[in-house]
């Protein structure tokens, strides 16, 4: 039997997921030793047709990062699904929609308008926007369709496992690869990361008061952040309570609150709704009997862009998936 065949592919993503594979550093050599990489457009010169000629299930594992935003990404995801025994949604965008998923607050026409016409650095006097088909000198040029709605990978094809994070941390990737190579696979649908909330592993947890109460909301740029103290205790929104651990507390250690890229734990269906729930329950709780409704409203209005904050990485995966038109 030959070495297991791996494929890597990217859809609507920033490239960070590709980089994190390289962050395996010398360990990547071990991986390359044990597997055959049959497809990895960012690094190797294989083409779509090389995949098309493969038999069903010929690829052992396809790691697909990025959300699904164009028809081409959808086609590629479907093609890889056909050829791969296992599909791993790699990274927050594939799992939850991620940052590209924030586009679901708009529709395509708004986005094209902004990007191709209104951005101050764009000079486009004729107002040209990309078309799917253009005829020129008798030739027909085509582009993939740009969808109105960004989807997660599992809203497009069945997904076997998820590697969360923006990007997934190298140790979790290595773990996942080793688990796959050993054939010790968990139940389908498992997120290959710890299933505890980030607060559980956060070094600042000890400074989180027993009874949290936020008197006033502060944004990170408005205050000097105490590098030891729980962000919530400082009035800064931190999504640690509704976010899965396993990232190595990357942001916390850089003195920034968690934005929730690891997604929710397995018990939560909608990360943003849970964030609404916990933030609201600790906001102004100290004087809750005394506050008038107007005062409560004022406090709540201090959360700028609540939907964008609570669904920073998970809008397409949320119950509502997008803004309604």
């Amino acid at each position: 039997m030959g070495k297991p065949k791996f494929a890597f592919y990217w859809c609507a993503s920033c490239g960070g997921c590709e980089e994190t594979v390289l962050d395996l550093n010398e360990k990547i050599l071990e991986v390359v030793d044990k597997v055959d990489i049959v497809f990895w457009p960012v690094a190797l010169d294989f083409k779509r047709k090389d995949i098309e000629v493969m038999k069903e299930g010929e690829i052992d594992v396809a790691f697909i990062n990025g959300a699904i935003r164009t028809s081409e990404q959808e086609e590629m995801a479907k093609l890889l699904r056909e050829k791969a025994k296992l599909v791993v949604a790699f990274g927050a965008c594939a799992q939850l929609g991620g940052i590209p998923g924030l586009a679901n607050f708009w529709v395509r026409s708004d986005i094209f308008d902004r990007i191709y016409k209104k951005v101050p650095t764009v000079a486009n006097p004729e107002g040209v926007v990309p078309q799917q088909v253009v005829e020129m000198d008798g030739y027909k040029l085509t582009l993939p369709e740009f969808y109105d709605t960004v989807k997660t990978l599992d809203q497009t094809i069945p997904v076997d496992y998820y590697l969360p994070g923006c990007p997934p941390p190298p140790d979790l990737i290595m773990n996942a690869i080793e688990t796959i190579l050993k054939g010790e696979l968990p139940e389908k649908g498992t997120v290959l990361a710890p299933d505890k909330a980030l607060c559980d592993t956060c070094p600042r947890n000890e400074t989180k008061p027993e009874k949290l109460s936020i008197k006033d909301i502060k944004r990170p740029h408005e205050v000097i952040i105490d590098p030891e103290k729980c962000f919530l205790a400082q009035g800064i929104i931190c999504l640690g309570p509704v976010t899965r651990s396993g990232c190595g507390e990357r942001c916390i250690n850089a003195n920034m609150p968690c934005r929730g890229c690891m997604g929710p734990t397995s018990e939560v269906r909608d990360q943003g709704a849970k964030a609404v729930s916990f933030i609201a329950s600790i906001l102004g709780v100290e004087d809750e009997e005394k506050l008038s409704e107007e005062e409560v409203q004022k406090l709540i209005d201090k959360i700028v862009d609540p939907a964008g904050t609570f669904y920073r990485f998970s809008l397409p995966a949320s119950l509502l998936r997008r803004r309604r038109k």
Partner: protein, 144 residues
């Protein structure tokens, strides 16, 4: 909107608002039939997820009803409810759902009439707003 009858999901806490709804029934008060009641122990048990799920399952409006401030059977649950509903309204607005589709009312066990009026007003308001029709939003259709 001719002939449109809105559907309301009414989350009512067991100790006050559910009792009020019950009393409205046993007192044979006339009430609009546009709602289904889901009883929770306290209004603060109503997770924002439940509300979103109700909209997704076809509700045109969601009512959260609990004991008056200071009267919650669990002392302070309803203060949390107030803040959750307020915050969720903002999120709904950003997601293109009219925040008036989510309504919070304090209805004591004796206030059966208030329950009836609340439902009537809510039905009228939802008739103005029209059907919600959430299903259409998650396709990839190129209607941009």
């Amino acid at each position: 909107m001719e002939g449109f009858e809105p559907k309301i999901v009414a989350f009512c806490c067991k100790w006050c608002s559910y009792a009020a709804a019950d009393l409205a029934g046993t007192s044979r008060l006339k009430i609009k039939p546009n709602f289904v009641v889901i009883r929770t122990m306290c209004s603060s048990r109503v997770d924002p997820e439940f509300i979103l799920q109700a909209f997704l399952n076809g509700a045109d409006g969601v009512l959260v009803a609990g004991c008056h401030p200071g009267d919650c059977h669990y002392v302070n649950g309803n203060y949390k409810t107030l803040r959750r509903v307020m915050l969720l309204k903002k999120v709904l607005e950003q997601l293109g759902i009219d925040p008036r589709r989510l309504r919070l009312e304090w209805i004591a066990a004796s206030e059966s009439r208030k329950f009836v009026v609340t439902i009537r007003k809510f039905v009228d308001e939802l008739k103005q707003l029209g059907p919600l029709r959430l299903e259409a939003g998650d396709d990839n259709g190129s209607n941009g």
